[in-house]
Assembly symmetry: C7
Homo-oligomer: 75 residues x 7
């Protein structure tokens, strides 16, 4: 069943652009460069979004998995 | 007893449409494509709902299990 | 002592109707069809209640144990 | 030291009436019928109290230990 | 280093009066009768305080360690 | 790498005065007398501060690590 | 895969200046001097920021990993 684990969907889009919503309702978008089994991950060219507009740019950002609500993954 | 575990009810509806409520009171609906024992899961054709109307469409979405309140599972 | 564990009280009412209060103060009622040691459980004919009136019907519902405040168990 | 564990104080009052305060500030009272090391417990003749008056009666109630603030134990 | 563990400071005042603040900002005072490594503990002659005045008396009280902010320990 | 662990920075200032901010936004100051790997710690001559003024004095205080936001450590 | 773990991105910038946002929405900036696998970390020359202005200076600061939302890492 390990082929079918949700985390594999994340690993399969390394280097693609993903969006992440955190528990504090903030949304981040960037290119996925690293991830682990706790959903800790790093983004390159990370942006914070508000109402679909860019609110801040961070370059490389490390997000802590335990605060993630969801991750939008390109198909 | 492992046949009777709650997580088995989720695994038995892979590829079916489910609805999920998160701790922040948001409701998501989509086709279940992956799940694990922590209730982490991926949806295809994921939608966010508000008062039973579609508020946003996300394509493929990875939801983190520890923020889930409940999952509505087709019978 | 394992005979006397609280979770055994839940297992002993499989197929009976129970009520559950979640941390977000919502109350659910339905027929218990599955449960595990984390109090994850599935209900058949699940209803959400508000002031003892039915607010929504969900069919089969999977509730995550870590959000449960209490479970009312028939004697 | 295991004789002196706090959980032993709870086990020693099985069948006695205890009061419990949950994190959501609700107070419950009932006869302790089961408990485990996580402070999960079941009450018989469970009542919910507000300002020391009975607000609701539940019969048998299973309380999840991780939401408990304190338990008043008869001496 | 085990001599120097913070929990040892608590164990060393068994039978002395301590004060405890919980996450919900309530303060309790009583004679420490039991404790474990999770800071679960029991108090005898437990009182709840508000603005340094007694608000309620509970007799024997079991406090769950994971809700404790701090414990004032006599020197 | 164990030489470089963050907790070692705390152990290296035993008997020095440190400041601690808790999740409830309160700030405490005192002389560090004990600590463990969970950041549980005891302070001697503990004070609670508000806007850099002393609000309360506690003598010996045990702080639970899981509620700590940060610790200011003398260099 | 261990080369690609998110925590490695943090370890690779030891002695560089990073910014950290905590769950209570506060932002800290300083030179990373230590970190561990839980994202506990120490900063030298730590500053607290508000609207990109310095609000407080702390010298050496130990931040607890479980309260971290994100870490901005120089590329």
């Amino acid at each position: 069943m390990s082929q079918n684990l949700p985390i594999k969907a994340l690993e399969s889009v390394l280097n693609d652009v993903i969006s992440i919503k955190l528990k504090d309702q903030r949304i981040f978008r960037g290119r996925l460069t690293r991830c682990d089994m706790y959903m800790n991950l790093t983004l390159a060219d990370a942006e914070e979004l508000e109402n679909e507009e860019i609110r801040a740019k961070y370059g490389q950002l490390l997000l802590r998995g335990n605060n993630i609500l969801w991750i939008q993954i390109p198909e």
